[in-house]
């Protein structure tokens, strides 16, 4: 055959449609709730309806008498078979029982549970449990909680401090043994202008389309536990379930079937997962629990909820000299798996894309009587971006500088990479000015400014926002994760030449089945349809960490690429033997394996595969078969970046904000599938804009979640947005051979400050310099109205 003009298209970089979608859109996916195991029983929780109190009695008698109810457990019963839940961060943590013992600390905490023959009955029986409480005062404001009044939530944590003041940045020794304030003090002493602002990055409810669900199946005859869960990381689940059940990891199989979104909230290993496993083991029955939406609002971790006191010191020419960021994180009632670590990422990324010579951040984490927080899309980095970008915007406004130019003046320059920040990060690569210029061009910034000014001349309240972001992704070296920071991939060429590969990155919407197949199809020059990517089952996928922190492509993709390379080399050796050529001359092309310069010798890919499995003769020194694996651990994280620009109009009479334009330039390094990348950015933008404009978890003073349903908690709809205008710059990372950085969270970073800055710009005529999110119409109306800006 000819070696020119390949028939098979090269797929890396192509907009291949997600192969996952046809089954998911048609309802052919299998989620936890779809699973049925013979003998399966249903578990339902009784949850407390007060935010803080001592349990005085639990009467389970009515529930236990109901026909079909097989078991009822209180917190004390569960405590006998399940230790308090562990966390994954090195911070001190109070005991956290999966089902509350004696004291409840947030509305929605489990206090008892029932096991019944069907789900409806289980729910009825849970309702029939009567719990009485001696109420304790609740505290929902973290700054109030820090006073230790009116209540202390955990007795060994005075003033409700989960993490007492932790300093970081310039002059702070890595082991905290010494703190030298001179550089930071000098920066502020030398400053010609100081911006100071308290900002609230408020609490959000993650709201994955699929709530959580668990099915735990202890098989007494085999002494094995299989646990299906809607999780982002089945391998971590396996590890934890084994440990908490006193089993070896060889006895546990964890399976994440289709997972309908997670947004970080399905990283945590939850009470419900542990409880289902220990109850299954005790009763010897398969036990299923599926979260309903009302439960999900209170029982699945929330995100964000950090107050930042920001001080920015600068010269009049816009050069930033120093930054102080005092952070107070409201983590809710308990530490979960990664809770305490999330705000540390805000510290790590405090300087954003700027070369700031002196920075001091401090972090205090506070318990309150609210649902615990943990990772939520961006997890700590959107907070950092929001604080530093809003401060930069305020600086530009104070100095009457263009918001783009004040940023340009402070950017880390391309020749400074790898760039060691004052916060201890080493940024891998970047060309921020290029992305800024691309965004200014794509948005026609000067035209937008003229358009805004024209609208203002007509009396309209129109504003422009610009924000830049950098994110830490692709976690990362094992030093940065307690689970290890690698990912695993295995590639097997089947006897018929088809390819089955496994990845430890268990997706929940990332499209790995598509992008990873694109990579392998190219690597072996076989049709896309000949490659299957398996994931999510620890019985099939040997090892893995999971999917979070925008790591799938950069870390798991690379692991598969490396595993594929090993298999390809072995296949080339078989081909060399079969085709009587040198291994170095073997080429993979158009579904054929051939010899360079001798096209007539080429054999179908499948023929080489068949030979490898029935190797007669077996080439000397070779083993049969074509399967190999790789663990890939990058030596650093990746740092994608980008620039978001928005135009927003506020209705003068009502205060309603309307987003008119959103232009985003994102740089995630090399892109395997731009279509999927755009989808990820769309989703991130929706959630980032959602936080700025319509999403907010609101509690009342008693610790009741007022936004506990979609009637009061707004999820963004397509009709809330203009058409997003996306483009990319490409700055590859040196930390993996694909040059890919990660993009899953990026959309949430730039969009949020960009929107708020646009609102501030729109209302700047009223003397406004900052507005806390979310942009409630009434809040904006009051600013306008109090300045006589309404029309009527």
């Amino acid at each position: 055959m000819s070696t020119s003009a390949p028939v098979l298209p090269k797929l890396i970089g192509e907009r291949v449609k997600r192969r996952e979608d046809p089954r998911l859109i048609r309802g052919l996916g299998t989620y936890v709730d779809d699973l049925k195991v013979t003998g399966m029983r249903h578990l339902a929780f009784k949850r407390c309806d007060i935010a803080h109190g001592t349990i005085t009695s639990i009467d389970t008698s009515a529930a236990a008498k109901m026909t079909g109810v097989e078991a009822v457990y209180t917190g004390a019963d569960i405590a006998k078979i399940l230790a308090p839940m562990p966390i994954g961060t090195p911070f001190p943590s109070p005991p956290h029982h999966a089902v509350a013992v004696d004291v409840v600390r947030y509305a929605g905490e489990p206090v008892a549970l029932v096991v019944a023959s069907d789900r409806y009955l289980a729910r009825d029986a849970a309702d029939a449990i009567v719990v009485t409480y001696d109420p304790l005062p609740a505290v929902v404001d973290p700054e109030a909680a820090m006073t230790g009044q009116p209540t202390v939530i955990h007795k060994d944590f005075p003033h409700n401090l989960a993490v007492a003041l932790v300093p970081s940045g310039t002059g702070v020794a890595p082991d905290y043994s010494s703190i030298d304030n001179s550089a930071v003090d000098k920066a502020f002493a030398d400053a010609e202008v100081v911006i100071s602002q308290r900002m609230v990055n408020h609490r959000l409810v993650p709201n994955a389309m699929e709530p959580r669900g668990v099915l735990a199946h202890w098989e007494p005859g085999k002494d094995t536990m299989t646990i299906w869960s809607s999780t982002q990381n089945p391998h971590i689940l396996k590890t934890m379930i084994a440990a908490m059940n006193g089993l070896g990891q060889h006895q546990v199989r964890a399976i994440a079937p289709e997972v309908g979104g997670g947004f970080g909230a399905k990283i945590n290993i939850y009470a419900e997962e542990y409880v289902c496993s220990v109850v299954s083991k005790q009763l010897g029955l398969p036990i299923k629990w599926v979260e309903d939406r009302s439960e999900a609002f209170v029982a699945t971790t929330h995100g964000r909820d950090i107050i930042g006191y920001i001080d920015l010191a600068a010269r009049k020419d816009g050069k930033v000299l120093g930054l102080k960021m005092r952070l107070i994180a409201d983590i809710g009632a308990y530490n979960m798996l990664l809770t305490a670590a999330i705000p540390t990422l805000t510290m790590l990324m405090a300087n954003g894309t700027y070369d700031i010579p002196a920075i001091r951040t401090t972090l205090t984490e506070v318990f309150t009587n609210k649902t615990p927080t943990d990772a939520y899309r961006g997890a700590g980095r959107p907070e950092a971006t929001y604080f530093v970008e809003r401060a930069m915007d305020m600086l530009a406004r104070e100095l009457k500088m263009d918001p783009a130019e004040v940023r340009r003046k402070n950017f880390i320059k391309p020749n400074q990479f790898p760039y060691q920040t004052q916060m201890g990060a080493v940024y891998d690569s970047g060309d921020y000015e290029k992305a800024l210029d691309a965004a200014l061009t794509a948005s026609n910034w000067k035209g937008l400014v003229a358009e805004r000014d024209q609208a203002r001349a007509e009396g309209r309240l129109v504003g422009l926002g610009l924000a830049f972001y950098v994110e830490v992704c692709g976690l990362g070296p094992s030093s940065s994760l307690p689970t290890g920071g690698w990912e695993h991939g295995q590639v097997t060429i089947e006897r018929d030449g088809r390819i089955t590969a496994t990845t430890g990155a268990s997706p929940h919407g990332q499209g790995n089945e598509t992008t990873f197949a694109q990579m392998l199809a190219d690597q072996f020059s076989v049709p896309f349809e000949h490659v299957t990517i398996l994931h999510g089952d620890t019985g099939i996928v040997k090892q893995g960490i999971g999917t979070f922190g925008s790591r799938s492509q950069a870390v798991a993709g690379t692991a598969l690429h490396l595993a594929g390379g090993k298999v390809r080399k072995k296949m080339a050796q078989f081909a060399a033997a079969m085709l009587e050529a040198s291994e170095d001359d073997i080429v993979f092309e158009n579904g054929m394996v051939g010899v360079k310069g001798a096209p007539a010798k080429a054999k179908p890919f499948a023929a080489i595969a068949a030979y490898a499995y029935v190797p007669v003769p077996l080439p000397p020194g070779m083993e049969p078969g074509l399967s190999d694996e790789a663990f890939f651990e990058p030596n650093n994280n990746t740092y994608p970046f980008g620039c978001h620009i928005s135009m927003l109009e506020i209705d003068r009479e009502t205060g309603e904000p309307k987003l008119l334009k959103l232009i985003a330039v994102d740089d995630a390094g090399h892109l395997i599938n731009p279509l999927i990348v755009e989808g990820q950015i769309h989703g991130g933008l929706a959630q980032g804009i959602g936080q700025a404009m319509i999403e907010e978890a609101v509690y009342n003073e008693d610790g009741q979640l007022l936004t506990g349903s979609f009637m009061d908690y707004a999820l963004p709809r397509a009709t809330d947005f203009p058409r997003f205008e996306l483009s990319a710059t490409v700055t590859p990372t040196p930390v993996n051979p694909l040059g890919a950085k990660g993009v899953g969270e990026a959309g949430t970073l730039g969009s949020t400050p960009c929107i708020v800055s646009a609102a501030v710009d729109a209302l700047s005529q009223f003397g406004v310099t900052h507005i806390d999110m979310m942009l409630r119409p009434e809040k904006l109306w009051r600013i306008i109205h109090n300045h006589g800006g309404g029309r009527s």
Binding site: D127, E656, F710, M711, R776, P777, W781, S792
Partner: protein, 280 residues
């Protein structure tokens, strides 16, 4: 999100529905279910029986006769929004329907259900008030007709007797009518919604009827505003509407809007509704 157990029956006619409900002991009618089912899932409503009226022949549809329009109780919001008859003769009704919830809600929810449930922030109550519509009811003791202005009595309180159901909404179509609302961002219910139906000749508003929803315990007519609008030309509408909230007492307050803000929005949306009406 899991209701208590209930029985379900499908009615074949209005009389059958009435008989089945009477026999049920604690049953409820269900059509689109978009008000009732969420309450059942939250266990705030626990009917022992549901009598489904959604497929009763003849209970749905939009018909014109004798200068009046009748909308069957089980007509969906989508059918109202898409009706060429309404778009032509009474565009406010179609316009209000497009403002309800989202496409899923509009495809299932019905006008009869919306009016019978009478959520204080629902859109249709304001519209039927402005149209001075008749609510046609049937129950164990026969049929009767109630003016919309008498039907909405208080907080989730309507003039609907035990075992009665709404069969139709009837009104004389008004072309010069408009609906304007401030949307609650999560539910898309009205924070404030105003419907205005005008009689206009020679560029002068001869008479007006205005319905308000979202702001008070139940939808009400703004009679002072109606009087203020009479005799006005377009250029005097804004001034007339400035006092739209003057006789509205006890304005609702919730997470989404304070009473002050709601009250301030009444003149704004009254003026917008009237301007829309005048533009037709």
């Amino acid at each position: 999100m899991i209701p208590v157990a209930f029985e379900y029956q499908r009615a074949t006619s209005v009389d059958d529905a009435i008989a089945k409900l009477a026999a049920s002991g604690g049953g409820k009618f269900i059509a689109g279910g978009h008000s009732l089912v969420p309450l059942m899932k939250l266990r705030l409503s626990e009917p022992a029986q549901l009598i489904d009226i959604a497929r009763i022949p003849g209970l749905s549809g939009i018909r014109a006769s004798g200068g009046r329009i009748a909308i069957g109780a089980t007509t969906t919001h989508y059918e109202i929004a898409a009706s060429p008859l309404l778009r032509d003769q009474c565009p406010m009704m179609a316009e209000a329907a497009t403002e309800i919830g989202d496409p899923q809600v509009r495809n299932r929810g019905t006008i009869g259900g919306s009016i019978a449930h009478a959520d204080p922030a629902a859109d249709f109550p304001a519209v039927v008030l402005a149209l001075d519509a008749d609510i046609v009811l049937k129950g164990p003791t026969g049929a009767r007709t109630v003016k919309a202005s008498a039907f909405f009595r208080g907080f989730y309180d309507v003039d609907l007797g035990a075992g009665e159901l709404i069969t139709a909404i009837q009104f004389a179509p008004v072309k010069s009518a408009g609906y304007a609302k401030l949307r609650q961002r999560a539910s898309h219910y009205a924070v404030v919604g105003v419907a205005a139906a005008l009689e206009v000749s020679g560029g002068v508003i001869r008479s007006a009827r205005v319905g308000l929803t979202g702001a008070t315990t139940h939808a009400v007519r703004l009679t002072s505003l109606e009087a203020a609008l009479a005799g006005k030309r377009a250029d005097a509408v804004a001034a007339a509407c400035a006092g739209a909230a003057n006789d509205v007492a006890d304005v609702n307050a919730d997470l989404h809007a304070s009473a002050d803000y709601r009250k301030a929005m009444i003149p704004v949306f009254a003026r917008r509704a009237v301007e829309r009406a005048l533009a037709r």
